[in-house]
Amino acid sequence: MASSIRVRATANGDTTEVQALIQHPMDSGFVKDSKGELIPAHFIQELKFECNGKDVFIADWGTAVSKDPYVKFSFKGARKGDDLKVSWTDNKGASDTTTAKIS
């Protein structure tokens, strides 16, 4: 199965810019389906970025993050070719991980 995470990390000098797009329904638990029944909450709670054995960015999310979430940030200290590990876990215990090369 293709990964749910698409990530692009670009190094520019000492700074690496990271953009990530994740496929996830991010159901808030407040929306009803076509039969009028509430769709239970299903959302990513924690998203973590690791580079060279160090956490560089951690997101704690609630239900108010949009469907198929997007996030962008930058950090220092990585170089082209380094690995960036991205992982998430949701409120139902599901998770996914991917590793991207910094370009």
């Binding site: 407040f30 951690i58 704690d60 999310w61 609630g62 108010a64 949009s66």
Partner: protein, 161 residues
Amino acid sequence: MTTTTGPHPTRRLLLQGAASVALLGLGNLPFAPARAAANDKYPEDAFKQKNEADAIKALYGKTAEPSDKVKLDAPEIAENGGVVPISVTTTLDKVTSISFFVAENPNALAASYRIPDGTMPSVANRLKMAKTTKLTAIVEADGKLYSATKEVKVTVGGCGG
């Protein structure tokens, strides 16, 4: 106009050989408390709070002061409350976290980002907004909280389905 100020004799009291009280500094300074463990875990309690003030309290345990060093970028009008692009940057030093609150969502806290050393204090993301309301970004820098707010008009809500 009547003034009744009687002359007061000035009396100088000389305290000879007064015992001076030496305040000796206590040698055992308390150790700096270890970083709050709450900062390393998913703040489940804060995400459950309904209004913004309670959520801020549950997440940080203190209140924020507005600062023009926090730049919150969001659209004036969001055509789709389900996807509102919002970003924050700051010129503050020693930033440890950035959080987003949407005042009139069912739960005010939308997202909280932990910023370790070496990561820029700048985040862009997309949030849901139930209706036209106030958006607040809080930056935690050097143990203090700084905030920026912006009113965003939502023409189609993000939680109505």
